[in-house]
Symmetry: D2
Subunit: 342 residues, 4 copies
């Protein structure tokens, strides 16, 4: 079928290409003509334009227009787009919007007879080949209208082994796309997905960091009041090859995962990870997951800690740390790097 696609960046461009491979027609729109031309040359889109009006004009009614733009730009894009649309058109937000915004937007668009779907999309730069995992919220009828698009984007049943018993239950979940519920449900599920992602990434990172320091017993230890002594240096004498460790875990172990595959790949390229400073970004969904856990009154220790580790990696704990050093100076006369003489 025919789809309008706003945003031809990393995610949007690859999604377009996958849709074309599956026989769909994609009219692409991006702000910069160079992006549009690039997408055309790569065979990612059927036609392209830098104008929303032009995009709308090229689509048959009722239109389906998929937004693949930064969460912070969705409202601005809608402000320009919606006046161009007609009743029964559908706007799909495939980015990382906060589901609160979905609820607000769907209500606004509904007043004009325009439909809104929120589609959490996971897959990163690999989705072109692996397919995208799609978590969908909105009106069921409208979701049904787009099922061939979802089918094309999603990985399909064969992408992994079948869950025992799933054959009796059916549904689209095992194809890689899921209608989760009314407006916002798609981004809600995607939000928690990313919250979990942060937790899993932190679990690997912390564990591998423990392995990375397994040779600390080889260092000379200071014997003064200022350093917590390593009481048993003989237990920390291992120089571990982390690329090999990540690799061996990929087969047969309980912690095999796609994130581990990527970790093994990254460590193989450069075991010292020297290209990174260790300032880890976060994009909002991990934050909103914690907001939701708190609103619901549900503990999420691991997910919150994983998020906070990202904040701390960017220096945001500095003032707190200075305060702790200041307290130590006050009660114990400790200059920084001195004993807890309390």
């Amino acid at each position: 079928m025919q789809l309008g696609l706003v945003g031809l960046g990393r995610m949007g461009g690859f999604m377009a290409k996958r849709l074309l491979h599956h026989g769909h027609t994609v009219i692409g729109m991006a702000r910069h003509d160079s992006t549009v031309q690039g997408a055309l040359q790569e065979g990612a889109i059927t036609q392209g334009t830098t104008s929303l009006a032009d995009l709308v004009a090229q689509l048959d009614a009722p239109r389906a227009i998929w937004l693949m733009v930064p969460a912070a730009s969705v409202d601005a894009t809608l402000a320009d787009l919606v006046p161009l649309l007609a009743q029964d058109d559908v706007v799909i937000d495939g980015g990382n919007s906060y589901y609160h915004d979905d609820i607000r937007r769907a209500a606004e668009l509904k007043q004009k007879g325009i439909h809104y779907l929120d589609v959490g999309t996971s897959g990163g730069v690999w989705g072109l080949d692996r397919g995208y995992c799609l978590m969908i919220g909105g009106e069921t009828e409208v979701v049904g209208r787009l099922s061939s698009i979802f089918e094309a984007l999603a990985p399909g049943v064969d992408a992994t082994s079948r869950t025992p018993g799933r054959e009796k239950v059916g549904g689209t979940a095992e194809k890689g796309y899921l209608y989760c519920g009314p407006t916002g449900a798609g981004h809600f599920v995607k939000m928690v997905h990313n919250g979990i992602e942060y937790g899993i990434m932190a679990a690997y990172a912390e564990g591998l960091n423990v392995l990375h320091h397994a040779n600390i017993g080889k260092d000379q230890q200071q014997v003064d009041a200022e350093t917590a002594p390593l009481s048993n240096p003989q237990y920390y004498q291992y120089d571990l090859n982390l690329a090999d460790v990540a690799e061996v875990w990929r087969r047969g172990s309980v912690i095999g995962s796609w994130l581990l595959d990527l970790t093994a790949s990254a460590l193989l390229k450069d075991p010292a990870l020297s290209q990174f400073e260790g300032r880890v970004s976060d994009s909002g969904e991990g934050r909103w997951t914690i907001h939701a856990s708190i609103d619901e009154g549900v503990p999420a220790y691991v997910l919150a800690a994983a998020l906070y580790e990202r904040f701390a990696s960017r220096g945001e704990a500095d003032f707190a740390n200075k305060l702790m050093s200041a307290m130590r100076l006050e009660f114990g006369g400790h200059l920084e790097k001195v004993e807890e003489g309390s």
Copy 2:
């Protein structure tokens, strides 16, 4: 080759069977004759006995004897076994021993000319088919002697896709077994593996719990001073099908993993998980991972929280919770279930 195997439980029995399938000879030993007979009938072992002396007698020198017994029983087993062994024999501890114990045991056995390998073994009840992930510590020469055993137990390269660039590096890691370093290194790596496992499990569990409570806005809210009000019930109106959510994440998403496969399977069988009380055991390696992180001075917020969640699930926070209620009564006159009127 020929291997003696002490312990024919869930793990040991399946490992024996996999070895036989690969053409090895396994002399099995278990304390109860019924266990031995069962293993023989299942074709898991070549021969069986309930006597360590008998086991040793049936093996050609230099012997290789693999222990697959609870960590708490290894020392008792060694006390009985070692006097029966001869110089250059090898004992392999394939269980979940603390690597400190490995270091002590290897030193003791070395005095008698007996070798000791520590082999962290992951794979659970699935290892028979999937193969076992093996993390090995000890003397390299002795490890080499057993390579055909490791090769048979491990999943093999084909068990998953190849890491790009791995073809140039080689090594056994991509076969699913790895020589990690001197004595203790195998169990050290396995220890951290389990620490990570706890973290990943908690990440999924917490996230799915947030999804589980996504309909909390449908509940009537109490309007009194005693309950933190849910300010925006309209945002928590989703009845999510968690079996479907776990399933859809299995394909194309960033958080696909084997633990997710199992979670999808468990939720499909019983979305309410009604057979469980939620008292989560831990077996030691998660604890030791935290010990190591502290000895090394390396933060492991997520791994520690995941471990503590298990403790708390078993009621071990109760006294602390009572203390907090007691403080609230003291400062605010709050009976339990009342407002933080500080």
Copy 3:
């Protein structure tokens, strides 16, 4: 001066009494006549009524009316009260409102020429004697108008020792009340105050729980694969008297505090804390502190964990815990209470 006070519960009643002791006139209002009569008999208020209209009528313009009602009731109270007020009157919210609500309300009242102050009030049931710690947000001029009220409610400089150098700086902070900034600043500071309170309470509770279990080595240990063995029972043989421990820390130690005083008192009354179930309430401000930390991108591991411990104490981790047991069954064949055989 003359003050109208809405809400004569635990907090409101004691505050009124303290104001009267300092020579102020308090017209009290409560919904139930029995509450009003009780307050009159206790000498807590000058006059009382069950009618807001009556309250307003008895006050000289420009009026100052202090609300001491549950956070969830403030908007309803304002809906009834505001139509009765005249330009230049002041409403003070002394409860635990979310500062977002302060900002909205102040803007609404400003349109009618009515002033709004947010005053975070700490002190619990002890404030009558100890005085109340007041954190104030709003227009500086209006704050100034009420300074004699704040002065009466606050503990005064003599309530504790003077911070060295404070004599040169001056200000009201050392009297126990502080103008924090524009609307919302008072409740923002009070919000974080309560977030810290949760963290401190959890620190004591966790630590005392570790002391409470210091005799765990006296228990028989199970030697099976299902229980992480206590490797060194000889280190956990202490039967500690926690009431004495809390008491001894009250003098000379680094961790002396008012919360510790209360803890010592509670433990002295009943070391087993048998009147408590350990279901710990939270009233909103701890939650909002975490929201703020996330909006700001600032790590707050301890404050978040402390909040989550309260959620978990009320059973809200149950589903997550069941999921972890379910995963363990899937990968290791573990029934609940069995070994981590991964």
Copy 4:
């Protein structure tokens, strides 16, 4: 009475002085003669020496010798000291030793008829005036022998208000010293005391850091995919005076404490804390508290997070952070500082 004191540093010197003020005789020993001379000039000790043999010679049997040296130096000191001692002498370790070491040392000394007390000592540089909080382990008879020393060092009942009901119970706890139990109990209680201290310090530091960033809404926000947008900058417009905030909390609030007093003092001196880098030391007892919590199977989320924050403040999370950035590059093509495009 007469006491030998080994170690005349910050802690030891002040303790000696306090003992002299209370009429005791203190023979001090330090390695450097300048330290000894300084202590003599300050009137901290009665006599002084740089020789352990000399110290022992000057004391009447049965001797009481208090060690106030870094935990890492205690064994070396004992190795030199013990051969000089006679049966029934007492050695007191007043530093921050691990209680495991106490148990070992007491057993070793017992074989020679020498007694050993472990005395956890809190008070920092303030103890000279405030008195020291003493947590004592060992043989009750020997503890009794030293009660006048403990009485002199401890703050005494009048140091704070009396816990209601304490007058009926009695005991020394309210004087500021406590016999906690057999060998190791004193340092066990002190260990947990410090664990709690870390938690409380972190609670204040995190909360004040949230206040410190309360003006983040005044910053320009980037609108791109790389930054989690601050959705409501209007809520973060407060420039708070943290010295005043800490000060106001000192009176009447629930979170008043001695650590808050010190925090208020530090912030008054320099609100920017510019003399600190924020590298926070830890001295062992916080670590051991976590070890104990894990051995006991008791959750200590807050105490562990507080400890890990110190590790992270010293850069020990760097490798983990690089790993997370590496994973993000792998799955999403994100260079550092880019969107979570999963």
